[in-house]
Amino acid sequence: MELIMNYEVLAGIVGGKTAGQTLTDEDLATANIEALISGGSIKPITAKTKKDEAAE
């Protein structure tokens, strides 16, 4: 089962999204996500499976 991670933008503009908006792993495919989290730019908010997404 493949996990899909979502992230909330905490400040600034990250991946073209502003604070409060949501990014996915795909949006951050070329980014160093650990650095974004430790820099306070984003925080992980959910971990969904592809199965969960299909059910929504």
């Binding site: 933008v9 905490l10 400040a11 600034g12 503009i13 990250v14 991946g15 073209g16 949006d27 951050l28 070329t30 980014a31 160093n32 650990e34 650095a35 974004l36 430790s38 820099g39 306070g40 730019s41």
Partner: protein
């Protein structure tokens, strides 16, 4: 033909997907490659061929310590390779007249505290590119 000029006041700079444009005061992409000498006996001038690309990107920053701003973004990426994307005119579609430059840079040579009393805290960093500089004219 009319002369086309470019006012350099709206360049978009994104490092590790974080938009730092409003904290950047100067941008310089130096596209270069190693020149490998091939001069041989009988030559009357030095000759060279293209070697590996060794480009650099120099950015002047206004130091700012809030989340998603200069210090936090660079410190978190210190010592790692991250993507840097530069667009001459922010908010305008990538095109032949607004080409997008993308490179992987090694985040190094930080000076997060810099300046004398009364000065604005700034840092000018020349990042070594660890990839070629890709130039895209389509989104």
């Amino acid at each position: 033909m009319a002369l086309t000029t470019q006012l350099n006041n709206n360049v978009s700079v994104t490092i590790n997907s974080v938009d730092l444009s409003d904290q950047v005061t100067s941008v310089t992409i130096n596209q270069q490659f190693d020149e490998l000498e091939t001069t041989s006996m009988g030559a009357t001038a030095h000759t060279f061929v293209k070697g590996l690309e060794s480009s650099t990107i120099t950015l002047d920053f206004l130091n700012s310590y809030a989340a998603s701003e200069v210090a936090a973004t660079l410190q978190a990426a210190y010592g790692t390779n991250v993507q840097c994307v530069i667009l001459p005119v922010k908010g305008t579609a990538v095109s032949a007249t607004n080409p997008q430059y993308t490179a992987t840079i090694l985040v190094n040579n930080l000076t997060p505290v810099n300046g004398a009393v009364g000065d604005l805290s700034t840092q000018s960093i020349t990042f070594t590119c660890t990839s070629t500089v890709a130039v895209s004219t389509t989104a």
